[in-house]
Symmetry: C2
């Protein structure tokens, strides 16, 4: 048991180290040797857990997804109305993107998918399905207008968020990300909400910068 | 003169070859040897024109920017109203992203900026400034509402477009990109337009899929 716990802790340390190295150097320039140094493990220990750089990159993406899903599930469990939940989910991922190296590296590796195989498509699909369902719920709750098909709207919000965090990273290393996410929702709300509900709902954008 | 023309043609061939290789392998995995093979030039000729892979990547980005700016300038010169011009510019870049390897690679390298130095920020800034000016003009023309500050709106449209093309690349290698750009504008228009002008302007989204 103690050995198993140690092995898990080592694996975890390697993933954190890999995240820091991928985020600093990008996938292409990172080497397994860099990761071993950053994680403070021997190359032998690293190869015991991971076969290749691809393997390591996929483990970082998987761990980022796990973190994002645990966090997202907790937000959905609050049982807030769907539109509010969507805004809180964006803010939560934004906050993780500003502070957690595993989330930073996981999202970068996902957006740089072409650098390694296979194409990383599942995280996008998970977010698209979650938002499509929330949009349907939000229509049922009378907040979201049904002029735009839920799958089409989800397919704009998720790529938009992807681009907003990417460009915020380029300009400010994401220091202004929460403000950008709030502005994204300020711009989207007139299109997304039922017009008669807009005045009641526009305050929701303030939630983005409120600690959860 | 003939020698200079030949040197320019070689340089052009190397940039095209580099674009194809970067697009296929990503920046990190691409080698100068791959580029020499793809461009059908000797490694000596390649090193005569470019010092390093970074140098080559920046040349691809520069050439993509040149192509996009020439094309964009022609669209602006049509003298259409600002909102229409914005939609045409997005459609035009989308069309290049579906067909031109230099544009594909240039945009990918720009979105994967962290893979090499320096950070690539100028292309984003150019697009932001162009759109901010068009938004101001569109407000003056009575089409675009002034509820959202022009710089803020531009800073949502450009990152959104960045994300839309990126996610379309992941899912369909951009085969559906023009449809996604049309949907982006269908979703944005109620937020972007002066409400009384919306019914007159919504047909503009059809321009995205109309050959220019």
């Amino acid at each position: 048991m103690a050995r198993q716990a140690r092995a898990l802790a080592t694996r975890e340390a390697i993933i954190r180290g890999a995240a820091v190295v991928f985020e600093r150097l990008g996938y292409g320039n990172a080497s397994l040797a860099d990761v071993a140094v950053e994680a403070n493990v021997s190359k032998g220990a690293l190869y015991f857990h991971f076969d290749s750089k691809d393997d390591l990159a996929l483990a970082v993406i998987e761990e980022q997804n796990r973190i994002s899903q645990v966090s997202g599930t907790a937000i959905i469990a609050l049982g807030r109305p769907a539109l509010e939940t969507m805004i809180l989910l964006c803010a939560d991922l934004g906050r993780h993107l500003m502070t957690d190296p595993v989330v930073q590296a996981g999202i970068r590796l996902t957006t740089e998918a072409a650098s390694f195989q296979p194409q990383v498509i599942e995280p996008y699909r998970d977010w698209l399905v979650t938002f499509e369902n929330l949009i349907r719920t939000g229509i049922g709750e009378g907040d979201i207008n049904e002029n735009v098909a839920p799958d089409v709207l989800a397919w704009f919000i998720i790529p938009s968020f992807t681009g907003v965090q990417l460009v915020a990273n380029v300009f400010t290393s994401r220091h202004d990300l929460l403000g950008r996410i709030r502005q994204m929702w300020e711009i989207l709300l007139p299109s997304v909400t039922v017009p008669e509900r807009y005045d009641d709902l526009r305050h929701l954008t303030r939630l983005v910068e409120t600690p959860a």
